[in-house]
């Protein structure tokens, strides 16, 4: 990865304010990638070897259900992280991910990154502190959707709308 892309990586919200040595270690595992609209980025059940930091474009996570096609789970956009399964066993993608628009992203090699984090517990802890809020936010958003807030039974005739 070139120095300019390393500085771009340092500017990503997930890695903001990390010391240069940490950025250097992360850069060694990173590369620039792009995907055209419709291109499959992750495949459900495949080895989760890479995760992506999106810079541009939109990605749709989906699961295929017989007779129902692809059920969309979530869309992700610039500044967001695509793929969390690279960090936790069994290291398998849980959903498909497809580019909805042209996507530009940093790809980070999961095994390379895990080795760096294992070898540098301080960096490992720092990155876990940065990944955990993403996991928490997605859990909370999923819980909100489980509430089916806009569904039937959430209001009645006396309730102004």
């Amino acid at each position: 990865m070139s120095p300019s892309t390393a500085s771009q990586l340092a500017a990503h919200p997930l890695f903001a304010d990390l010391p240069p040595a940490a950025i250097g270690a992360l850069s060694a595992c990173a590369s620039d990638v792009s995907f055209e609209p419709g291109e499959l980025i992750l495949t459900e059940g495949a080895d989760a070897k890479t995760f992506y930091l999106l810079r541009q474009g939109k990605v749709a996570l989906s699961a295929h259900a017989p007779g129902k096609g692809h059920l969309l789970v979530q869309t992700l956009g610039p500044g967001e992280a695509l793929g969390l399964s690279w960090l936790f066993p069994p290291f398998l993608w849980q959903f498909d991910a497809r580019a909805v628009e042209r996507v530009e992203a940093f790809a980070l090699d999961g095994p390379c990154l895990r080795a760096k984090l294992e070898g540098d517990p301080a960096l490992g802890y720092e990155l876990l502190k940065r990944f955990t809020p993403i996991v928490l936010e997605r859990l909370q958003q999923t819980r909100l959707r489980l509430l089916d807030l806009y569904g039937n039974g959430t209001t009645s005739d006396g309730h102004p709308h």
Partner: protein, 288 residues
């Protein structure tokens, strides 16, 4: 169908408890369970209101319900967007063109749009919560570019599914002059928009939090989480206005009957639009 279909003399209203008769001039199905009624007064008089206010609508022989006004002030016909959730709203949603309904109002507080000069106005709506915001957005866009108009308008909308997204034509039209983002909770591969909760749109929306004014309407849980996202983004709590109903039963519309009391508020009179500092303690209390 319990609505009247025969023309009848339109008696002049004698007070806030006497409904005026309005004729259904048009009816548009916005979603499987949501319809917009276009109403014209049978006496031809104009009907003044401010965005955010509501009317008590009567389906004759069935009952009366509070419904937000979803049209722009000064425009005709008068629009109400109604979700079918019980017998009265079902009768209203199915009222045929030409039939009569009763209208009392307008009641309650409004969005107070005159205070939004030079602001980045962020409108966040969930589900049918877009209805009381439509007139506000239209007024804001009318004022955009004027000396006392907003600097920018951002509209963030959440719906359950794509087919339950209301006001699609308006959303498309607003895109010419406002930043509009839509997300749904559930979709299949034909949907090319966002999937996720509406709060997820707040972080990436293009507005300056320090000069932002926010208008929020939707289910209570959605509003609580939206407010949290807005405050995390840097919007001042005093710059957030909510349209609350909190499941209170509005009946008289004038603050007399007390059915809509919420702590110190009578929501039909002191609400439904309140500032976040006014609503925050009440929103946090279960079963108040």
């Amino acid at each position: 169908m319990a609505t009247l279909t025969e023309p009848s003399p339109a008696p002049a209203p004698t007070g806030p408890f006497t409904p005026a008769t309005f004729r259904v001039a048009g009816r548009e199905q916005e979603a499987p369970d949501v319809a917009t009624l276009a109403l014209e007064p049978t006496d031809g008089r104009s009907f003044a209101f401010h965005p955010g206010q509501f009317n008590m609508l009567t389906a004759f022989g069935v009952g009366e319900v509070p419904i937000s006004i979803s049209s722009r002030p000064g425009s005709r016909p008068l629009l109400h967007t109604i979700r079918e959730v019980g017998p009265v709203t079902a009768a209203l949603c199915r009222a045929p063109v030409g039939s009569l309904v009763g209208v009392r109002g307008p009641f309650g507080t409004d969005w107070g749009l005159d205070a939004f000069a030079h602001a980045d106005v962020v409108v966040v709506a969930g589900g049918i919560g877009l209805a009381p915001l439509r007139g506000a957005v239209q007024v804001l866009l009318d004022r955009a570019g004027l000396p006392m108009g907003p600097r920018k308008v951002v509209v963030l909308v959440g719906a359950r599914t794509p087919d339950q997204l209301i006001f699609r034509r308006d959303l498309d039209a607003w895109r010419a002059h406002a930043e509009v983002a839509v997300t749904v909770d559930m979709a299949t591969s034909g949907w090319e928009g966002n999937v996720g909760v509406v709060t997820s749109l707040v972080g990436s929306a293009g507005f300056d939090a320090h000069r932002a004014m926010a208008l929020v309407c939707g289910p209570e849980v959605m509003m609580r989480h939206t407010v949290q996202a807005l405050i995390e983004r840097g919007v001042l709590p005093t710059s957030i206005r909510l349209r609350v109903s909190l499941e209170r039963n509005m009946q008289c519309g004038t603050g007399l009957c007390g059915h809509c009391q919420l702590g110190p508020f009578l929501l039909c009179r002191d609400g439904p639009v309140v500032t976040y500092p006014q609503a925050s303690r009440l929103l946090a209390e279960a079963e108040l």
